[in-house]
Amino acid sequence: MVVPLISIILLAPLAAFTIFALLGLAKRSFPRQDLLSTAAMLVALGCSLYLLKEVVPKPDPHTVDWISLGNITFSMGFYLDSVTVIMLIVVTLVSSLVHIFSIGYMHGDPRYPRFFAYLSLFSFSMLFLVVSDNLLGIYIGWELVGLCSYLLIGFWFEKDSAANACKKAFLTTRVGDVGMFIGMMILFWQLDFKTFSLYGEGGIFSAVATTDDKLWLSIAGILIFCGAIGKSAQVPLHTWLPDAMEGPTPVSALIHAATMVAAGVYLTARMFPILTPSSSLVIAYIGGITAIVAATIAIVRFDIKRVLAYSTISQLGYMMLAIGAGSYVAGLFHLTTHAFFKALLFLGSGSVIHAFHAMHAHHDDDHADNAEHDHSLVHEHGSEIPPDQDMRNMGGLRRKMPITFITMLIATLSISGVPFIFSGFWSKDKILGGVLGRAMEWNSIHHYVLFGIALCAAGITAFYMFRLIFMTFFGEPRNQEMHNMAHESPWVMTVPLIVLAALSFPVVNHLWFNKDYVKPPPQPHIQAPQHAYVPSDTKIGFTLFGLSEAEAADEEGGTDTEQSDKAHHAHEVAHNIAMVLSIIVAGLGILLSWLFYHRRRFSAEAVATTFRPVYNLFWNKYYFDEFYDGVLVTLTVWKARLFAKFDLSIIDGIVNGVATITQKIFAASIGFFDNRVVDGIVNRVAEVTWAAGGRIRRIQTGAIQTYLFVVLGGIVLIILIFRAL
């Protein structure tokens, strides 16, 4: 029952694409490609849901030989366990919703059918990646989704920015993928696993338990993680994702928020068993750093999609952090919750953009040009923001498009970690708890640091997400002309929003994650360090977090059993602490952003312009705003700008630079080398030969007596030479 189901899940979208491609050859296209693709996805969704009650929980791989060489065989196959099923459902669900949304959003686009075909291809690749039971299969799906992302980012390829963005996305991720491939090769030869299949007898996971080459295992782990760094846009390879926003918004929602970028997390989770303390620490740190860096950057963005993009990066960092810190479940939990609410946010922003875009539509339908005639608008670090994405043109939309507003608000609350009724809170709390728990369990200073970072990140997230909400939906419209054009989106677009909003409440996720539906696989190479060294400051930390000295004291030198229940205990404590803290920071963040972006409106425009004298008075009374502005905001903003600068100039610089530099100097010089040196040598030889010919010609003077001299000379020479012999 499993195999046919999965086959259907995979083949349905593939078929949709194939039909498009084949008809395309004949310069024709299917009348309603959109419905076709959507239907395909819905079928897939149905099957996935059916799988939910069908297979689980007994995981079993179904494989066929793909490449068989002598004694080595690479097999392709499915592997189904709870995680797979969850991923299947998430992907199919979000994908279907995005399909539906796009029917409305992409309406009237010159390449409307092509868009859906691409979406189907992407869905197929993503699903293939998810169900694959071996690294090679994952790698294949991995690259295919990369291709689709390339095609979809560059969907409006007339825009140079889009053309650049898609290239950049592909190349940046490719760098990571190469790392992943090397990692695979190390697993294959260096660790002598001689296979790529993960599960079952002779699979990597069974082999990994027995190997003791920790060093190479760590290296392999990190290298494979490189793939995830690329795909999930972790520092330092994250810069492609914001640019990827050049693609149509549904694409951003599907690929660059919910599914593809999450694939990195999924991969890391899949490779959980091969992680060693060192490799997982690296992962955790990269995750943590990404989380904070991206969050701080998000604060100063005005392009609504860019804000969401950075927030996505930051959230992905969270998940990585979680897995790195060993809280497998938390990571995947956050993956699913994030998939829903972030997709919702993007679609919401899409609906906003659409609202504005309708206005553009009757200006000119062609996307190529709106990139041009917006040069007047504010430039954000070089690349101009399309006006329909610039939050400074928005504001007060909540009345204009209530559904969008409410749904987005829900998503925002969820991502900001507003307690108890929103799924985001639970998953985030699980992560924080997990990290702190690991910290306390191991007394590892590293994990305390990471916890701190995560906490900050949580706060900042809340801050900028609400900034987005306030700037977009609250207050007075800043750009009246555009505001007048704005309108609520058609039902095809709002329905997906509503569905996703529903999913942003804990219900579904809790089904999966709160009753051991998902169990972390064993990590043979990670166990709590014996006789952990307890630095004094962590002692203080304990007291801070409300553990008694006594408890802290018997941390040292406990037996294994004590270790384990101590660990359990630590996690208990950690969760409570984490929950409290996260609520606090979230609240703090929301409050601040309310103060800045909601209240500030008063002072700035209205008062200052209309009632000058009164304004001065008020102004003298309340210096708070200025104070905030002057001190806090500038401080925060400045700090964030700093990050932004670093991010844009350095990392972007490197990524873009490499291509140009190699092309301009290195490759050019090689081309030169090719022409001058390699060819040059050959040509020299030729010339020398030719010259020799000329010499000999000159001996041929035409005077007979010279010839006779040569004859006699020859004779004498011969005799002299051979006389000596």
Partner: protein, 110 residues
Amino acid sequence: MSLQHYLVISSILFTLGIFAVLTRRNAISILMGIELILNSCNLNFAAFSRFVIPLEEVEGKIIQNIDGQIIAIFGIVLAAAEAAVFLAIILAIYREFGSIRPDEVDTLKG
């Protein structure tokens, strides 16, 4: 007179001939040089035939093998023939070039 004398003379002749051939700026003199060379060879043959080949006795008579002399005679004949042809060609050259200086006959080169 022993073999050496003949050989010395013939070598001198040969050398003179070569010298003439290489240095003379007149086709006729070159021809003379060639004649010298050929004659030095004839002298050699005769001399060798006389001194090297042992006398042999046939029916009580001592007989001298004269292969060498024969070759020499043929040599003289051929030398004459060659001279004839050479002179004819020199005539042609003179007709075409108005000169028999070998170094002026050098249109074909390279």
